[in-house]
Amino acid sequence: MSSSSSSRGRSPAARLTVNGVDHEVALRPDRHLLYVLREELGLTGTKYGCGEGECGACKVLLDGVAVRACQTPLGEAVGHSVTTIEGLAHGEELHPVQRAFLEAGAFQCGFCTPGMIMAAAALLARNPHPTDAEVRAGLDGNLCRCGGYLRILDAVERASRPPPTRGGKR
């Protein structure tokens, strides 16, 4: 590994689009997407859990597809649209998966929640009405050490239901 600051001048700059905002970042081989999001852009909603792509705490969307940011070289994210947990809601209006997690009380310590929500959002975008087995398979790369899997399944099931009609709400 080259030492940290000596290569600064030589690093090519690249444009990284995160949550609709363009950032100029140094394109260096030792920086994966997670590092840049957390350490350089201050987007700490995306979590470090293992660094080897086993826990899913760092999942973000790359053009709408869930990827593990700790396994994504920065170069692979450049030129694509990155969405993190901070960019999932529309202003104050939560994404249906975020709402469902709240309603189901689908977290304990909450540390796995951002990655879990991103994985579930990507799953539902691809398959709006998954079976229980499809949800389990789709989220199997995400760990919850508090063991809150049943509540998470409940949340994803809630989010996959058709939205309630607004008739009663005037």
Partner: protein, 706 residues
């Protein structure tokens, strides 16, 4: 440099009536429950006074409550807030609970042992009761009526029976006051039958930040000028540092390196440069002799240690065990073991340390903030008042976050660098250098009448701890002891650690005895249980599970399915777990269904308790089925999630939770005891399915039944 007297004195170091409550939190009313001896649970006897609580009711009408307990995901922030809201007749949103901040909270020994509900909740409830009484009197004066004629509803006081328009808000009642009351002795809190907020469905406090990613855990925090720290660890457990050269690390721009006592560590402007710097250190280590995995049972047997802390030595004797064995028509002997396992909290250990004018502020995910403060002040030669520990939201603990070593490393680095330093373990460091749940070896010998009625019980525990070592069954002659041992690895607390091991041994052994005499496992237990509450839970679970009375199969069942049951009584909670398994023709094990019944007195926060029981069941399945640290002579061999298997979605069976509410009984914790009957229930179900008796946890490390 001699430390100058600190400007800030933590509240717990001042007498209750001399703390600057109002300078910190504004005018209002403060009611204080002074630090206590041991809490209602009896824990902490002989230690410093601890616990207690205080509540400040401000001109904004909010109640600020303070407890030394912390929230690490177990849900006590909401549960304890509900208690305060309940006593003060406030909506939950008007309660702000500060937890584990050593500058303003009561001294507390730590958040472990399922003490938050029996101790902290009780202290907050007493304080809330007393505060309500003072509020009533103040409101009566304000309204010009007698105290008996005032009622408190939803944060407002009004003359009884008068319209809401005549009500006055609490903030108005306490306006301009700087009044401190102590909780009078003999204060009687509300019985659970009169709870209006607690015991009812409630949302959790602060949830929105969790789903938006706005919640900041310690590992997310950043201060201006902050450096990233890394600690140099020995390559094998216990290895001694012989020589170290920090030169190559210091040659990296911006790197600060320290070597103080046992500590070798670096800090650097970026995490990547800190990693490069710690790798650049040249160190020579001298390994110490450590057992291999194959030798470890013998090692534990031959290395007894002095008891300390919860590694207590237990010697319990009743009746005449030897005589009973001589007389008994039936006896059974077996040894059970549990493996070293890791807590693996999803947020690894994280600390952010910063010095300001000789005072240290440490933000850290810890279950023991006051012990950390005291350990840091000792190690750094500072008065306790010069150390401030704050506990930000923490990505779980499970008993694994009790140590202060990493905080000391961060503090020393921050001092040397004269900048804030954050140290966050990598996953590999977390597995390798956070302490482990101890391995246990348990020798059991039982004697019984021909029908299986127990006459003698000998239970010798090595290294697990004494929790739940004594049987909840009627046995006239007993010898139960716990012998702590040396350990090749740092070992420590873990969610329900001793009770899990001891319950596994006892409930497996009971099942072996039941099978020997051809008894149904549920009837066998009901016949001999000494605790009616536990028997109630067992009956409820058997009913829900559709248990049909028959002895456990002594041979493989044709369909490959089996069912097992186990019970446990620990920390005031009663649990029974039913497990149904299928063993396929290729010997693959599938746990198909779990029913867990739990009773812990009056339920304070029902949905959270259910969540704890569900999560605890999942966590217990990991330790029951496949979790194990592998090692060779002091080196951990599987310090990664790709090599250390924890429960995933694919492992989760149908789980049904039965909560038995007992509003007539004091509330106990729910974070630990629900785990302790899972492993034996599964082991007993495997026996029922196959006739194979598995006596070591994990039961099926490679997923198959041998």
């Amino acid at each position: 440099m001699s430390p100058s007297p600190p400007k800030v004195v933590p509240f717990d170091l001042l007498p209750p009536t001399q703390r600057p409550y109002f300078d910190r939190f504004g005018n209002g009313l403060v009611v204080v429950l002074a630090a206590q001896g041991p809490g209602p649970s009896g824990w902490g006897a002989g230690g410093p006074p601890h616990g207690g609580a205080w509540i400040h009711i401000g001109e904004d009408g909010k109640a600020r409550a303070f407890t030394g307990k912390v929230e690490v995901g177990q849900g006590t922030r909401t549960a304890l807030s509900l208690v305060v809201a309940d006593e003060l007749r406030l909506p939950l949103s008007a309660v702000e609970l500060t937890m584990g901040d050593t500058d303003v909270c009561p001294w507390d020994m730590g958040t472990f042992g399922s003490r938050s509900m029996p101790d902290a909740a009780q202290h907050l409830r007493l304080t809330g009761t007393a505060a309500r009484d003072v509020l009533l009197r103040l409101a009566a004066d304000h309204l010009g009526v007698g105290p008996g004629e005032v009622e408190l509803v939803d944060g407002r006081a009004r003359p009884r029976g008068k319209p809401a328009s005549s009500a006055v808000a609490y903030g108005e009642v306490v306006k301009g006051l700087r009044r401190i009351d102590l909780v009078p002795p003999n204060t009687q809190p509300e019985p659970p039958s009169r709870w209006t907020v607690a015991g009812h469905p409630s949302p959790d406090v602060g949830s929105r930040d969790v789903v938006t990613g706005a919640r900041r855990y310690t590992s997310d925090l950043h201060l201006p000028g902050m450096l990233h720290g890394k600690v140099l660890f020995p390559p094998t457990s216990g290895a001694k540092l012989r020589q170290v050269d920090l030169g190559p690390a210091r040659a990296i721009p911006g790197v600060v390196a320290v070597h103080e006592g046992e500590l070798v560590a670096v800090a650097a402007p970026t995490l990547l440069s800190a990693i490069a710097a710690v790798k650049a250190i040249r160190a020579e280590w001298e390994a110490v002799d450590q057992p291999s995995e194959r030798e470890v049972v013998d090692y534990l047997r031959s290395h007894p240690a002095e008891g300390e802390d919860f590694w207590d030595v237990l010697h319990h004797k009743a009746g005449d065990v030897e005589a009973a064995f001589t007389r008994a028509p039936l006896s059974l002997r077996a040894t059970y073991t549990t493996a070293y396992i890791a807590h693996a909290p999803l947020e690894t250990h994280a600390v952010l340390a910063a010095w300001e004018e000789g005072r240290l502020t440490v933000r850290m995910g810890t279950q023991t903030p006051f012990r950390a403060r005291d350990a840091l002040s000792d190690a750094l030669g500072l008065p306790p008042a010069s150390v401030h520990v704050i506990v930000p939201p923490t990505g779980s603990g499970f008993g694994g976050k009790h140590a202060a070593e990493l905080a000391l490393a961060a503090a020393r680095l921050a001092k040397a660098a004269e900048r804030p330093v954050r140290v966050v373990y990598s996953r590999e460091e977390e597995f390798s250098h956070a302490y482990l749940r101890p391995m246990a070896v348990i020798d059991v010998r039982s004697a019984a009448e021909k029908d299986g009625t127990l006459t003698a019980w000998e239970f010798h525990v090595l290294n697990a701890g004494s929790a739940a070592a004594r049987p909840p069954y009627r046995v006239p002659n007993q010898k139960v002891d716990n012998q702590p041992t040396e350990s090749p690895f740092d070992q420590g607390s873990y969610r329900a650690l001793a009770a899990t091991a001891n319950n596994f041994a006892r409930e497996s052994h009971l099942d072996e005895l039941a099978a020997r005499v051809g008894a149904d496992p549920v009837d066998f237990r009901l016949r001999q249980l000494a605790d009616d509450r536990l028997a109630d839970v067992l009956r409820a679970v058997a009913r829900r599970a559709g248990w049909a009375s028959r002895p456990s199969s002594g041979a493989a069942r044709k369909e490959g399915t089996g069912r097992g049951i186990a019970v446990g009584l620990e920390k005031g909670g009663r649990v029974a777990t039913f497990a149904e398994v299928r063993v396929a023709e290729d010997r693959r094990l599938e746990v198909e269904r779990i029913v867990t019944g739990y009773e812990c007195g009056a339920i304070v926060h029902p949905s959270n308790l259910r969540s704890q029981v569900e999560g605890g069941t999942v966590m217990a399945l990991g330790g029951a089925l496949f979790e194990a640290i592998h090692f060779d002579r002091g080196r951990l061999l599987n310090p990664k999630f790709s090599e250390y298997r924890v429960p995933r979605f694919r492992d989760i069976p149908a789980i049904e939770v039965l909560l038995l509410d007992r509003p007539d009984l004091p509330s106990q914790g729910g974070g630990e005891t629900p785990l302790i009957a899972v492993a034996p229930a599964v082991a007993n179900a495997i026996f029922d399915a196959t006739g194979q008796r598995l006596r070591s946890l994990p039961l099926t490390p490679d997923g198959t039944v041998p």
